[in-house]
């Protein structure tokens, strides 16, 4: 084995390959791959929550259960907040993807604009969800009002937490974008954040369909 006699001083913890933005192998860059794997773990997290939901629902003769305050089954209203919030969230995914396409094409102005719109739409989703929560609370649906409330607030609440995290992530991307840190050659963080945002959107579509659109069940006797 050859002996190295180079005495060029290296910083003590310089890891050239580990921090390379362009990868030694082709395909997906390290940060984006890492985000995709993280998303798969989040799929499993929601899987556990959904498993609980379906299990409790399967066990119940009446679903949604009867609201003791009104004597009627619990009802979730799509209007005026949740339906529009859903549309806005889907729209925000579109603007987010548009932002990615724009930075890929090195169009910083359109990238920043689209990303700002995405952040705002995400924030409005959270606002609408919050308002809807207060309305539902006043109707008697809370975390402690029984399994329907527990499962509803846990599922939508954790989704909302993920939206909140996503809004923060996108805001950081927006800030870095405004500081000029992204270009057609360097936009891994934009792509990673946008993948996370699409995931959050897909989870909401699933949640919305299951919680709001799936028909309930009544005892057959």
């Amino acid at each position: 084995m050859a002996m190295t006699t180079d005495s060029h001083p290296l910083p003590i913890e310089h890891n050239p390959l580990a921090s390379m933005p362009h990868d030694t192998h082709g395909g997906i860059s390290n940060p984006v791959l890492g985000m995709l794997l993280f998303i798969t773990s989040e799929v499993m997290f929601f899987g556990g929550l959904f498993a609980a939901y379906f299990s409790i629902r399967a066990n119940a003769a009446q679903w949604p259960p009867i609201n003791t305050e009104t004597g009627q089954p619990f009802q979730l209203a799509i209007l005026p907040f949740v339906g529009p919030a859903t549309i806005l969230l889907i729209l925000s995914s579109v603007t987010c993807q548009y932002a990615v396409w724009m930075i890929r094409a090195n169009d910083r102005t359109r990238f920043l604009r689209a990303m700002s719109v995405t952040v705002v739409l995400g924030a409005i989703f959270l606002l609408f969800q919050g308002i809807d929560y207060t309305i539902l609370g006043s109707e008697g649906l809370t975390l402690s009002s029984g399994t329907y409330g527990t499962t509803y607030y846990t599922l939508t609440g954790f989704h909302g937490a993920h939206v909140f995290g996503g809004v923060i992530m996108l805001s950081v991307v927006l800030y870095r974008g405004m500081a000029g840190q992204f270009s057609a050659k360097h936009y891994d963080a934009v792509e990673a954040a946008s993948l996370y945002w699409h995931f959050v959107d897909v989870v909401w579509i699933l949640l919305f369909s299951l919680l709001y659109l799936l028909p309930g069940k009544t005892p057959t006797t």
Binding site: M1, N30, G34, I56
Partner: protein
């Protein structure tokens, strides 16, 4: 085969304790994982000695019922979540980048984050002891017992436990992402997937299991937290919930978790046996496929922990459980045939590896008994299960960890460990381990339940319990020998050089310890044994 390393000038603030606390170097992080894990091994061990002291004789001598419950609950919690899983992650952290010829992990800062979450979680768990009581519903924390807020005087212990486990789970998940990206994207040129060392392969499959399964227990723990603190009713049957649902979701993670706890140890043994038998691993590809099969099958057996609830589709889980014995058996054959006809170097790493093989085999066999539903109906929640789990986790994982520690200590520190002390530790630990846990087979068959602080003096269990306690203190003695060996070796161990064992894999192609950037240059990689090939001037065979 001497190599010089680059010795850069180091600013003062980058030395000493500050350097260790702020490092993102996978080697330092790996070492700190190992140290952290041993600290919690000792804490968990002390709790075990507390359990065994109480059980040595019938009657409550030292602990109240509640304290006893806290002891065995925290013993298992520390051992599983803060010893075995992170210890194996720590070895993986140190070894995997070296074995694939990479300069570090893919995400060094996230690596550091994963590490530091662990002592924090450990402190949260320990806080239970001083805030009114720790968790006391077993490491499994089944509802409704774990939901019972005024459970005697447990205070916030159960909630601290939940938060600590969510932290540890997050640390694991981040680590698994780090490992997977590193293994798939940072291998040295020439190292195809099927030239990766078996250790790397087992860490790969383990990382998949961690990535997929851990979030599920996070969800179960969060639901438990909501039930306990926000009036939730997930697991409350009186309000439409289902207590067994908790077990169901819990075990969906906790069963794959046992493979997380054994596979890297199997990987370490698979590195040691070829080197110390002077023969390549028998059936490299078969081993990889067997590992993948165990990983996949491991996701479909979880309810075998719940056979007696009456809420499980028994045939499905029983059949799948028996099936797992097949790839595990394949691995046993691979290991035995690696040694067969080889030139055995009977040093401490090999002794612990052989200890692993024999003890894990026993654990696998007594597990196969439990896979049979009628047998399990009789043995569930008895000491038979305690025997099984300790034969696989201690006889398996701990012996594997010891083997790996003795094997890689020279690489990590540049010093050899004392062989005499090592052999002495092995003998004392092997004897102590079997004295502790073999009697538990009989105790389980005789009907002694687990998780009880006391037992009737006329049940006939007295002698075996006393024997098991004696065995427990023997294990403790072996650990004192171990600590003494580490201390002595760090102080005045023989210099190890680059490759003291004549190893096969890339970590032996650099200095001991390696420089910060790992390799000055790499040998040509044409097989899964590049250092062996370089030493013997072999050309590529595959």
């Amino acid at each position: 085969m001497a190599t010089t390393t680059l010795t850069p000038t180091i600013p003062a603030y980058r030395t000493g304790l500050y350097a260790w606390l702020t490092t993102t170097d996978h080697k330092k992080i790996g070492i700190m994982y190992v140290i952290n894990s041993f600290v919690f091994f000792f804490i968990g061990g002390l709790l075990a000695l507390g359990v065994r002291s109480e059980l040595a004789q019938p009657g409550l001598q030292y602990l109240t019922d509640l304290q006893y419950n806290e002891f065995f609950s925290m013993h298992a919690t520390f051992m599983i979540f803060l010893f075995v899983i992170p210890m194996l992650a720590g070895f993986g952290n140190y070894i995997v980048p070296l074995q694939i010829g990479a300069p570090d992990m893919a995400f060094p800062r996230i690596n550091a984050l994963s590490l530091w979450m662990l002592p924090l979680a450990g402190i949260l768990l320990l806080l239970g002891f001083v805030t009114g009581g720790t968790a006391a519903a077993g490491w499994t924390s089944y509802a409704p017992l774990s939901e019972d807020r005024p459970l005697a005087a447990t205070g916030y212990g159960q909630d601290l436990w939940i938060v600590a486990l969510v932290l540890i789970g997050t640390s694991s998940i981040l680590g698994s992402i780090n490992f997977l990206v590193t293994m798939f994207k940072m291998r040295a040129p020439g190292m195809t997937l099927f030239r990766m060392p078996i250790m790397v392969w087992t860490v790969l499959v383990t990382s998949v299991l961690v990535l997929m399964a851990t979030p599920v227990i996070t969800s179960a723990l969060i639901m438990l937290f909501i039930d306990r603190n926000y009036g939730g009713s997930f697991f409350d049957p009186s309000r439409g919930g289902d207590a067994i649902l908790y077990q169901n979701i819990f075990w969906f993670y906790s069963h794959p978790a046992v493979y997380v706890m054994i596979l890297p140890a199997m990987g370490m043994v698979s590195e040691i046996l070829p080197v110390f038998s002077r023969k390549p691993l028998f059936g490299y590809k078969a081993f990889i496929f067997a590992t993948a099969a165990i990983g996949a099958l491991g996701f479909s057996v979880w309810a075998h922990h719940m056979f007696t609830t009456g809420a499980v589709y028994l045939p499905f889980f029983s059949i799948m459980t028996f099936l797992i014995a097949v790839p595990t058996g394949v691995k046993m054959f691979n290991w035995v045939f690696t040694m067969w006809g080889g030139q055995l170097m009977l040093k401490t790493p090999l002794l612990f590896a052989i200890g692993f093989l024999t003890m894990f085999l026993i654990g696998g066999i007594n597990g196969a008994f439990s896979a049979s539903v009628p047998v399990d109906f009789a043995l569930h929640d008895t000491y038979w299960v305690v025997a099984h789990l300790h034969y696989v986790l201690f006889g398996g994982s701990v012996f594997g960890v010891m083997a790996g520690f003795y094997y890689w200590f020279p690489k990590m520190t540049g010093k050899m460990m004392n062989e005499t002390l090592g052999k002495a530790q092995f003998v004392v630990m092997f004897i102590g381990f079997n004295l502790t846990f073999f009697p538990m087979h009989e105790l389980g068959l005789a009907g002694m339940p687990r998780r009880i602080a006391d037992y009737s003096s006329t049940a006939g269990w007295n002698d075996l319990n006393l024997l098991a306690t004696f065995g427990g203190f023997t294990i403790a003695t072996s650990m004192v020998l171990f600590l003494w060996n580490v201390f002595v070796s760090l102080r005045s161990g023989e210099p190890a050089g680059e490759d003291p064992w004549e190893g096969n894999t890339l970590e032996w192609a650099t200095t001991s310890p390696p420089p910060a950037y790992n390799f000055d240059h790499l040998p040509e990689i044409r097989s899964e044994r590049p250092v062996f090939d370089a030493r013997h001037g072999r050309t590529a065979t595959h």
